[in-house]
Amino acid sequence: MVLEYHIDGGDFVNAGKASSAVKRVLKQLDVPAKRIKRVVIALYETEVNVVAHASNGEIEAVIEPERITLTVKDSGPGIPDIERAMLEGFTTASKEVREMGFGAGMGLANIKRNSDDLHIESIPGKGTIVRFTNDLRD
């Protein structure tokens, strides 16, 4: 099963809608609650990052019986130093993003914590691709 969602940059009203939709599908597929939580936390943090930093983005969720692979591509500023961005506390978020309850430099570390296999590719000035895979069964 392949699901696709669009994300508009700056649209904090709809941030999280895709994660919510994926959560509903995984529930219907009887995926254990703890596994669902890891997937949706990682996806929600990624969605918030796209809304916070990029002009727009696309999410592709490929759901197989045993695993899910999420690919999130954005047209954003890119991440010049991914290793540094992964450090907790490092942030380039705006005041507006902080007022929404995010932007403390914890997102990427939390995505890593909640994914089984995370890959980030980024070209400064062009955008970022975040891809992660999680097991769906115990």
Binding site: A15, A33, G101, M106
Partner: protein, 114 residues
């Protein structure tokens, strides 16, 4: 403690009265930083926050938190109430500060997550 009793104790307004108010709450977590909320594991946990926006409800949804109280008398939007209802999240609103809410609940036996 049942969420309905918590609402009484905090003189809180119940914004989703149609949901089941006998649900038990054993723990509470207080934060305005949703990134912090998203790092935790929760079971029968109430989120106490002064951040009154859709992302507070989304964060509860993703974190499997089913009870949220907005403190400091912050205004709660209709969209927040609808989102909470859609996700079976009981939403309360209190005029008390987060410190006062936390203190009253702690004294009443609601435990800290850590």
């Amino acid at each position: 403690m049942q969420i309905g009793n918590i609402a009484e104790l905090l003189k809180a307004k119940i914004l989703t009265p149609e949901l089941y108010l006998q649900r038990d709450v054993d723990y509470a977590f207080t934060s305005d930083l949703m990134s912090d909320v998203l790092t935790g594991d929760y079971d029968k946990t109430l989120l106490i926050t002064g951040l009154s926006n859709l992302q507070a409800i989304r964060t509860a949804e993703m974190s499997d938190i089913r009870e949220v109280i907005i403190g400091r008398n912050k205004k709660v939007s209709r969209e927040m109430i609808e989102l909470a209802r859609d996700n079976d999240i009981i939403l309360l609103q209190s005029s008390y500060s987060l410190y006062k809410i936390s203190g009253i609940l702690y004294e009443s036996g609601v435990k800290a997550v850590y």
